[in-house]
Amino acid sequence: MNNKENKKIHNQDLSTSVSYRRETGGFKSLSRFLIGTIGLGLEEFSERLDKWEQRSNEFDITSSSEIINYQDQPDKTINSSSLYMESIKSDSLRENLRFALIGLLIDSQDRIEATSRIMQPIGSTLYRITRPIINTVSRIPVIAPIRKGYSSLVERGEDEFNRLILLGRIEYQKSHQIAEIAIDDTFEETVDYLATNQEIQELIQSQSVGFAGEVVEEIRERAVSTDNFIDSTVRSFLKRKPRSEIPTPQFDIESTKSV
């Protein structure tokens, strides 16, 4: 049996042990729900954040990277940031301090990223150099018991770590599902409530009917205005007696509402 197969069987064991632990309970369900909603919320938020960042990049504002370049090559970017340099001089000390703190916050993030990029190859080089030495030292028979103890400790730690990872994965999926079900249910219940609630239905109905009625009334009024306008224009052109002199018929007409 090779290492891969061993690992697979080991993961299956973990999975069964983990699934055995998936009992439901008030506090656990609440934790899952909270994790799920936070996870969903963070996913949605990070998606929106990316969109906002992209949209904000559409504006013609000097980027922070240009300011960093300005420190390295002042001659190249001095023109684009000269406006900012002018405002630094004109702003009060308090304002400048506030902006300096914001700048420091963003700058430190950039620097941490830059440092980690540098540290990665250094770390792998160090590991490459020290690995033969460690291997040689670990083969010395005197320290064999320590090595064994260390190895078993590492193995146990790895097992526990893997178990936690698997548990986290399963629980995260479960939490995700709970949150989605909760959101869907709440949404459906809200829609059901809105659809079945008599008062809300009446309100919506009266609003839409009222709006339609207003539109129809407006059209009618405009049509009547145009009727009168066409009539008076044509009658004055043909020199016929004005409409006001023609008597209204005395019919008993039943009134109709607009809608």
Partner: protein, 187 residues
Amino acid sequence: MANSPEHTPLINLRGYYAGFMSRLLAFIVDVLFLTIVFLFIGWFVSITLALLQNLSILGVDFDNLPYVTKIISVISDPYFISVFIFSIIFIYYTFFTIFSGHTPGKALMGLRVISTKGKRISFGRSTLRFIAYIPTLLSLGIGFFWLIIDDQRQAWHDTLAGTFVVYTWEARPDENFLKNITTDLHD
């Protein structure tokens, strides 16, 4: 000038003869309504014919089915289609006018067709009015425009059938709209 276009001497026009624009809008609404009805009928007939064709592909022999081929040939005949359309329009106008005094378009615009005595019109008068549409249409619309100059705002088909079309709502002109029209025209 007493009879200038700026003056709107009639304020509440309920029961008064309906003007050209109101009637034109009502007519347009009716035409739209009928178009939807015809589209629906056309769609239904074409679906039915398509289904029958599919059945013939599946091996059902229509020659052995009584009347089916005859019915298909009749409903595809242009003469039959014309008569059918004319009948639907006739039923639409007369049915609504007899039972409620207005077609859906006229109801929306707050208009009603009445006899010269102010009563709801009968089937005979309604049919006469519908037939009287033909000379009005043949006159290239002059018969319709006639209501602008007529004292009782009667189009030719109204005069021939002895009917009036009146407002059934508290018809008020929109003063602002009227001002805008006159200002635009004077400019």
